[in-house]
Amino acid sequence: MIRVVLPPHLRKLAQVDREVKLDVAGPVTQRAILDALEAAYPMLRGTIRDHVTHRRRPFVRFFACEQDLSHEADDAPLPDAVANGAEPFLVVGAMAGG
């Protein structure tokens, strides 16, 4: 079971509590998590990554295990602690004014 923490605006949009739990088939990568997340919560499509290119939106970051994984390849394996559910995968709205 993969644990995903969404930023407050997206939690409200998806109407979920703090953490989302997802079943991810196959290798646990950013792409696999986001595919599973968007399948379970279609209203999040386009809010984390582009609908067509699947590029991460510029002000969104991915953290886990105290690391910034935002610039990792979409299909790179995520840390074991994320894959086994010990640590959450954090979707973060970048700190910026506004």
Binding site: H9, L10, R45, G46, F59
Partner: protein, 371 residues
């Protein structure tokens, strides 16, 4: 008794203001979607409890919300706005070609007859349509395929399609306006479009009377007379009596002919309203006096409407989509400011009072008159 519902979009959420037909006591519901920019909300004329809202932030992009109970509850619907075919380029600020990139929905225009059909004017300028209540969106690509499109340039606020007028008598005719390309009209339900800017004069252009490139801020039309169009341009208030084939200036004796919104009285097609702004860089009212100007002659001769509006030290702006009218017998007029006030007049503009004073900056105001 009739009921009035005012839909207010702000920089940090949406608000729904309601009153009975006396329009004396208002309930304020909100903020909805707190923290998100709400560029525009609008209700279906045929099913008034069906509302659409454009929600977005720089962080998480565009979301479209739909309500089927007058704004009590909402559902996120489709937000996939993808340009048809090869997106192509328009002109960037430095004159170079720039790929068309979707940024946001500026304006939502529901069909007059079908609550599931709604048009979206977007940045970078294009027109989209949904026929399934906002679940899916498809570009009407004829507009962007006009031969002039590669030369269109963004204004300071982005290259937005901000006005959509649906002709009530002719389902094939629509008029849109783009900053800063100008006004365009289709007579074949969007298959082909042509610029309708003859008579506009913009000294900021190398050719002041060019066919395209004018910074049109807003268009307005009265349903009883769709061939008569009114325009607030970057500078100049304009009027067309032939569906946009030609325009003439009707700024007349306004203290400034710069501004953003323009609207028409619900029952008097020649009574129009503008809010003069001092200049295109200052963006506040002349002399610090917030004045709506009304013309009862379709332009040319204007009167200042000041009763109840601040007449000193007022330096707010009124944005292009932030004025609307109700359709009660004594026409109500409403507008919102960048200072967070929403003002209402129950007597066609003779006097004004704030409904709310301290909202986030107001981006849009729409009004529904409910039976």
């Amino acid at each position: 008794m009739a009921k009035i519902r005012v839909l207010v979009g702000t920089r940090k959420g949406a608000f729904v203001l309601t009153a009975d037909g006396r329009r004396e006591h208002w309930d304020v519901h909100g903020p909805l979607f707190g923290g998100w920019e709400i560029y525009h909300l609008k209700g279906s004329p045929s099913h008034p409890d069906r509302l659409y809202a454009s929600q977005g932030t720089s962080w998480f992009g565009q979301v479209i919300q739909r309500s089927d109970d007058g704004g009590a509850t909402w559902e996120a619907v489709g937000n996939r706005f993808v340009y048809d075919g090869v997106a192509g380029t328009h002109q960037w600020y430095d004159g170079t070609p720039h790929p068309w990139e979707f940024a946001r929905v500026w304006h939502l225009e529901p069909s007059a007859t079908d609550p599931d059909t709604v048009y979206a004017g977007v940045e970078d300028a294009a027109l989209f349509r949904s026929t399934d209540g906002g679940q899916t969106w498809h570009e009407m690509p004829g507009l962007r395929r006009h031969e002039s499109a590669p030369s269109w340039q963004p204004g300071a606020g982005g290259m937005c399609l901000h006005t959509i007028l649906l002709d009530p008598n002719d389902t094939g005719r629509m008029v849109v306006a783009i900053s800063s390309a100008g006004s365009f009209r289709t007579d074949d339900a969007g298959a082909t479009w042509r610029p309708i800017n003859r008579g506009l004069r913009s000294e900021q252009l190398p050719n002041p009377t060019a066919e395209v490139g004018h910074c049109v801020h807003r268009l307005a039309m009265h349903r009883s007379r769709p061939d008569v169009l009114f325009m607030q341009k970057h500078w100049d208030v304009m009027r067309s009596d032939d569906g946009g084939e030609s325009w003439r200036e009707v700024s007349g004796d306004l203290p400034s002919d710069f501004g953003f919104p323009i609207d028409v009285h619900a029952h008097e097609p020649d009574t129009i309203y503008v809010v003069p702004i001092k200049s295109d860089s200052e963006h506040y009212p002349p002399e610090g006096k917030l004045r709506v100007y009304r013309s009862r002659t379709g332009g040319g001769e204007w009167e200042a409407l000041t009763r109840g509006l601040p007449q000193r030290d007022c330096y707010v702006n009124v944005l292009r989509d932030a004025m609307a009218v109700d359709s009660l017998d004594a026409c109500g007029v409403y507008f919102g400011t960048t200072g967070g006030q929403v003002y209402a007049s129950r007597d066609a503009g003779d006097s004004w009072a704030p409904i709310v004073r301290d909202l986030p900056p107001v981006l849009s105001v729409e009004v529904q008159t409910l039976a």
